[in-house]
Symmetry: C2
Subunit: 154 residues, 2 copies
Amino acid sequence: MRPDDLLTLGDVTRRSGFAASALRFYERGGLISATRTAGGQRRYERSVLRRLAFIRAARNIGLSLDEVRDALDTLPGGRTPTKADWARLSKAWSARLDAQIRALRALRDGLDSCIGCGCLSLRHCAMSNPSDVAGTRGVGAVYLPRPLTEEHRH
Amino acid sequence: MRPDDLLTLGDVTRRSGFAASALRFYERGGLISATRTAGGQRRYERSVLRRLAFIRAARNIGLSLDEVRDALDTLPGGRTPTKADWARLSKAWSARLDAQIRALRALRDGLDSCIGCGCLSLRHCAMSNPSDVAGTRGVGAVYLPRPLTEEHRH
DNA sequence: GTGAAAGTTGAAGTCAACTTCATGTCAAGT
DNA sequence: ACTTGACATGAAGTTGACTTCAACTTTCAC
């Protein structure tokens, strides 16, 4: 770490766990920002770490980067965000997670009955019906799982 | 539908909800198969519908096509799969769904405490820690959600 | 037997979220 | 001053799961 309180790219990769390429990618996408040295190197404010923590958590619960950007855009422009700011952003997730859990439970329960009846019917089985349970296309998107991708590929 | 009991591609798209391109893609990948007419068009057996139902359900709970293929490969080669065959394949999912639900609950509970403490700390918050909660990289993959993609794009 | 609808193919495109690469510059300890 | 490791850039590559396209060919109801 520098004597002043700015962080280098390396500092941030080490402390956030994000790859340098991801940080640059996020910067291009407007999710984070950095000042530059005279020589053109990035220098990050400490607050970028919390921002990155938010991004990681958001990605973990399934938000796309677009959604994350939208959320981050609601943070106050002038000042460093407060705990209350972050709490407000986070609050919506609880509902989202609840929805996801509900969807999964419905899926599991549907599955149990499928095993019971041995059906897996196209039209009647909640597990496999495209416009059922997991459907609700358009409004009130329902979320379903994907594997967690390995964070650091070598 | 044809007088004989084979289904055309159109029949299968309509009855399964999968796009024709997806059916061809699945066939290339060895997940489904079809016989051909003299003219080279695909004719599907009725059992492909159940297979597709399985594929959809599997995808819904987050299995990759590779995993689906592996599962389908354990079906008996000679005969049409029975209910018991499908039930066996499906059984493993319940555990998987339970794991997913547990992961989400942990995430939500971690989130609740984050909101409580306002932290979102890089090092201590379960929500944002890369190697925590959602971690367990390598063995015993933990699953987290992704948005359900719209089934029929126009 | 004919016209429209449905089907065929391989190759290339898409999308998200990054990573990798090639090539060149910066920063800083000795 | 020098060297070494960190950092810079734009372009292209990756992965999974499909979709789209262009250019034909088959089927089948009438």
